[in-house]
Amino acid sequence: MADAPGPSQLFEQWKKQFEEGAQAWSRLITQTAAASPSPTPDPTAFWRPVLDQGVQTWAKLFAQTPATPELLTQWKQFLDQWIEAWSKVLGQAMGTEQFAKLLGQSLDQMLVAAAPAKKAMDQQIEQALQALNLPSRSQVTAIAKQIVELEDRIDRLEDSISAKLRRLAERESR
């Protein structure tokens, strides 16, 4: 009986399927272009060889492998590696200058579009609350800031008093 294939072998088989699928696609393009000037590409012609190959490979795999829970563990490890591979690919894509510029531009466009709308909405809400004789967010925020400033003053007073008491204590100890 053949040994159970390890995760690296499963990964190699997946890679092989993907490459052969891509080759099938490029063969299809070449053949179709040679056959007629402007053919209508058949999408299933790409997926059919990939799927057929995949099913055959996995059928062979299951035929060779004893059915134990270790197969599930290997499947999990394969998925982990597949996710890790995708993570690396995405990481590389996001680590490019182009991506960073695109991200910055998208954010900038969002902010430029959002700024006037946000300002208009804030003003309308402020007016509506005023009309209803209710406090607005800016008023509540202002009160909160005043409280923070008062706390700060009390802290400074406490520090000053503590410093003076320490000096007094030092003088008395002399």
């Binding site: 099913v55 055959q56 059928a59 062979k60 299951f62 035929a63 004893p66 059915a67 134990t68 829970p69 270790e70 599930l72 999990k76 998925l79 982990d80 996710i83 890790e84 995708w86 993570s87 995405l90 990481g91 996001m94 680590g95 200058e97 960073a100 510029k101 991200l103 910055g104 954010l107 900038d108 902010l111 430029v112 959002a114 700024a115 946000k118 967010r137 509540v140 925020t141 909160a144 800031k145 923070v148 706390e151 700060d152 802290d155 520090d159």
Partner: protein
């Protein structure tokens, strides 16, 4: 030889399999079936009766508060004389990650080792805090917190331990306040040289990210945006997290840890606007801390003025504060005694999880202990 049909494979599996299978294989399948059943049971429990995980259970007392910031002192045998002031990141996430669960808590570990442990909880910020700056944190909040630590612990010196963003902020404080008697400084996964900070450094670059427009438009960085930024760093994280959850769902202990960590991982905190502006401009874009160009409250911040023993911990797979960015602190401090260690795992694995309890926390407490 003709290729075996898939139907033949299925027939071979379903007939006569059990009779031919060895006892060990049958036992493994039984175990797997039991685990499958436990998975479905726990999944049902998660969906119909989710239990709020009990985090932050190490006993503590609130010593001082200033606006949203709180200073907590944890119960401890206090066998080490020098207290430890722990300065975590401001905003981003809640600090109960450091005291996640009994048996899996950095704070619990340190208090059991006999350290008089103080945690600075920066708090959850609202629009009234948008004027809070890095300057204020370094020149007003931290000195006051340090003073309170010294008063309540009745000692002449303290150790400062900074994690993540808390490390460059506390390093700036230590470097610019020589009058505060800091005996030891520990940097855990704190970025210092922002030229080597990885993806965030690239995305927040001056030519790509207009921080002034961002803050002037939004006022603050909403928690959802902070979450989106961190999720973008590792887009496949949720996929692998859920895959691992399904794989380990039969394990009640794993589930308990997962629920606690997942709660924290999805609870983000907004950044005050002015803090974010200064943080991005002075640290990420201009790298002023490393270049000795930072000035706060009129005081120049020169890392060479840190002369106490320094311990730096980096994580090999940290993509938020890469090891070379963290290690750079050793190149700048004026300390004669300085040490760097690099541990397996990522940014969070230094402060939470089984790996942290085995690899990181004992090393931090072992370094601090004789110096406390």
């Amino acid at each position: 030889m003709a290729q075996e049909r898939f139907a033949d494979v299925v027939e071979r599996f379903t007939s006569g399999f059990a009779a031919d299978a060895p006892a060990e294989t049958i036992k493994q399948w039984q175990q797997e079936l039991e685990r499958g059943f436990r998975r479905l049971q726990n999944l049902h429990g998660l969906m119909t009766n989710p239990v709020e995980p009990k985090t932050g259970q190490t006993p503590r007392v609130e010593i001082y508060k200033r606006n949203k910031s709180r200073l907590y002192r944890y119960e401890s045998t206090r066998t080490h004389r020098t207290p430890v002031l722990f300065v975590p990141n401001l905003g981003i996430s809640r600090p109960y990650i450091f005291d996640l669960l009994p048996g899996g808590s950095f704070i619990e570990h340190m208090t059991k080792q006999g350290f008089d442990f103080y945690l600075l909880d920066w708090g959850v910020f609202g629009p009234e805090d948008n004027d809070l700056s890095v300057d204020e944190c370094v020149t007003k909040i931290l000195p006051r917190m340090a003073r309170r630590v010294l008063e309540t612990s009745e000692t002449d010196e303290l150790s400062v331990l900074g994690y993540c963003m808390g490390a460059p902020i506390s390093a700036s404080f230590v470097a610019s306040h020589p009058e505060v008697p800091v005996k030891n400084f520990v940097n855990m996964a704190g970025p210092i040289d922002f030229a080597k900070v990885g993806l965030f450094g690239l995305w927040l670059g001056k030519d790509k990210f207009n921080v002034d427009r961002f803050v002037d438009t939004l006022g603050s960085v909403p928690a959802d945006m902070v979450k989106a930024g961190f999720k973008l760093l590792k887009p496949t994280m949720d996929l692998s997290t859920n895959l691992n959850l399904w794989w380990n769902l039969w394990n009640d202990k794993y589930l308990e840890g997962f629920q606690a960590l997942n709660k924290w991982a999805n609870e983000y905190v907004a950044f005050p606007g002015e803090f974010f502006r200064q943080w991005v401009r002075d640290f990420y874009q201009d790298n002023k801390l490393y270049r000795d160009e930072l000035v706060m409250g009129g005081r120049p911040i020169r890392l060479e003025r840190i002369t106490c023993p320094v311990f730096v911990v980096g994580a090999k797979e940290d993509y938020i504060a890469p090891p070379e960015c963290v290690r750079a602190l050793l190149d700048k401090v004026g300390s004669r005694e300085k040490e760097y260690i690099e541990l397996p795992g990522g940014h969070i694995s230094l402060i939470a999880g089984r790996g942290a309890a085995v690899h990181c926390w004992p090393k931090v407490s072992a370094w601090l202990g004789p110096r406390s």
